[in-house]
Every structure is written in structure tokens, then in C-alpha cells.
């Protein structure tokens, strides 16, 4: 079993109202030293096999086809759990 974690964030220069709102909340809490907050998404995908190469190729394909919109978002991913089938 392989578990992949996908990170999706707004590209530089794209308006991120959620990040802006969170930063305002932090300011209200007294954290005056934040410069910028970017609010993204995390998507965990569990595969039913332990072929890391296959999982990486498929995850990249999933990101490009559906999970991220290249107009406004960047993506990255990493394997967070790995368990060989016995």
C-alpha cells in the first residue's frame, strides 16, 4: 500500500482571498509579524499496490487532469506511507 499526499497551492500573483482572511485573523490574534498567508489544499490518495513509480506517474497525471488547475495552481506530492503487501 502506498499513500500519496498531494499539495495544491495558488500560483504566485493569483489572488488568494482565503489566505488573506486567515492572515487578518492572525493579526487579530496579535501575530503582527506575518507577511503573507497562502491557503491551499491537501489531498491524500491511497493506492491498492506498492509500486511507487506507478503511483508517482499516476498522481502527476491526476494533478494535471483534475486535481490542480494549471491556470491558477501549483502542485507537488510525496509518499507519506508505504507498506509492502505480505
Amino acid at each position: 500500500m502506498i499513500k500519496m499526499r498531494v499539495y495544491i497551492n495558488s500560483k504566485q500573483g493569483i489572488i488568494d482571498p482565503a489566505g488573506k482572511a486567515i492572515r487578518l485573523g492572525l493579526l487579530n490574534l496579535g501575530y503582527n509579524d506575518t507577511k503573507q498567508v497562502n491557503c491551499g489544499k491537501i489531498i491524500d490518495i491511497e493506492f491498492n499496490h506498492d509500486n511507487a513509480e506507478k503511483a508517482k506517474i499516476e498522481t502527476k497525471d491526476m494533478c494535471e487532469k483534475l486535481l490542480a488547475n494549471p491556470n491558477m495552481e501549483n502542485y507537488s506530492f510525496e509518499i507519506i506511507e508505504r507498506e509492502a503487501h505480505i
Binding site: 489572488i15 482571498p17 483534475l66 488547475n69
Partner: protein
């Protein structure tokens, strides 16, 4: 003329759109479920407003992979008239039938309001007034496209609706959601695909106090060769 309205899980303006097409325009209109295939018998295909698939991931992103959308894409490329309203506009952008993307509104609020709109050359000659008023109701209507794309859609006269004052001033002061160039509606380069955030189907009957939506839809039909 025969039209259809596509129904996704979460569409909620499908019946309003069908009602207006049938009762205001006298167009025979079918509902087509997202899991069904789209027969090639429709002159106009409407993608209605709502929250397809709960707006999860990004509005319109998951609807794009419905079986019916494969046929919508094929028929769009065969120059059929496609009209996407609100969530329908988001679906058309995610499908890449229209350029750009609809981001979250600049001020994070869901906006439900009447807005004034100016229209482009391809529409304005067919309307009785220069500025029309239509309702908007959305959370993600902030149109964004890269500078090169924006330049192209301006040069090709693809922007057919822009947020404005009641006098037609399209400065940032009259921009409700942060859209680039106050864009409320665009067409594709060929001019057979229309996407807009305002809801013309909610302003097409005297009983609702505003018929500007009827005028706009009529102008779209006329720009496409009439009913």
C-alpha cells in the same frame, strides 16, 4: 429550434432555464442527465447554474468529467450553440471550452445582487438599451486569465458582458467580485460558446420585474442566426 439543459448532481437552475426556454421563447426543451449521452438533435445546449458535485475541488472541475460533457465538447466543436450560466460558465472554463478560470470572489463573500452590465458589439445592437441589469448569485465569479489570454479575448471581441455602473462606467468601482477587466461573460473565439456569471433566466418575465435577461438571451440567439 430544439434546446436542452444539462443536469448535474447539484444543478439548481436547470428547471428555471427550461421554463424560460419553453414558456418565454417557445423552444422545445429537454433535460439531459449528466450520466446520459447527448443526442445530436439540439440546436442549443444550456449548462445551468447551481453547485455541480457540491463545488468540491474547484467549481465545475468534477462536472467536466461527466459522460455528457464529452458529447458537449464534441458538439461545441461542431459549432453548436452552448450557453453556460454561473456554474455552467465555471464548467465551460474547467472544460477549456472557454479560456480562463473563475476564482473565489475577491472579498470572500457570496454575492446575491442585481448588477449593471455593458454589452459588446456582437450583442449591443440587438438590445433596446446600452446597459442591462441582471441578478448574480455566486461565490466564485472572479474571472482570471493570464495577460496574454486577456489580450487575445479583448482583441477578438470575446467579452460580451462587463460589470458597470448604470451609466455604463466599467471602472473597478463597479466590479463586484474582482474579475479581470470587469468581465461577467465571454464567448469563445468562434462565437458559438457563451459563458456568463449573471442569470438571464431569472430576469426574463414581467412577473419578476425585469426582462433584460430575455433580451440578452434573444440577442444571443440572434447573433447565432436566430430562433
Amino acid at each position: 429550434m430544439k434546446a436542452c439543459v444539462v443536469q448535474f448532481a447539484g444543478s439548481n437552475c436547470d428547471l428555471d432555464t427550461k421554463h424560460v426556454l419553453e414558456n418565454v421563447f417557445d423552444i422545445e426543451t429537454d433535460l439531459v442527465f449528466h450520466k446520459d449521452r447527448l443526442e445530436k438533435k439540439y440546436d442549443a445546449i444550456f449548462i445551468p447554474g447551481g453547485f455541480s458535485y457540491g463545488d468540491h475541488l474547484r467549481p465545475g472541475a468534477i462536472a467536466r468529467f461527466s459522460p455528457v460533457m464529452e458529447d458537449v465538447i464534441n458538439q461545441a466543436n461542431e459549432d453548436r450553440l452552448i450557453v453556460g450560466i454561473c456554474n455552467g460558465f465555471q464548467v465551460l472554463c474547467e472544460t477549456k471550452l472557454l479560456p480562463g478560470v473563475l476564482l473565489r470572489n475577491k472579498h470572500m463573500h457570496f454575492i446575491c445582487d442585481d448588477v449593471n452590465l455593458t454589452t459588446s458589439n456582437r450583442i449591443s445592437g440587438k438590445l433596446s438599451k446600452e446597459v442591462i441589469t441582471l441578478p448574480i448569485a455566486h461565490m466564485d465569479g472572479n474571472y482570471f486569465a493570464r495577460p496574454g489570454t486577456l489580450k487575445n479575448i479583448v482583441e477578438n471581441d470575446q467579452i460580451f458582458l462587463r460589470y458597470s455602473s448604470k451609466d455604463g462606467d466599467t471602472s473597478r468601482d463597479h466590479n463586484p467580485n474582482g474579475s479581470s477587466l470587469n468581465i461577467a461573460g465571454i464567448t469563445n473565439e468562434k462565437g458559438n460558446i457563451y459563458g456568463m456569471m449573471p442569470h438571464p433566466e431569472r430576469a426574463s418575465e414581467t412577473e419578476l420585474g425585469n426582462r433584460d435577461g430575455q433580451e440578452l438571451l434573444k440577442a444571443i440567439f440572434e447573433s447565432f442566426g436566430g430562433l
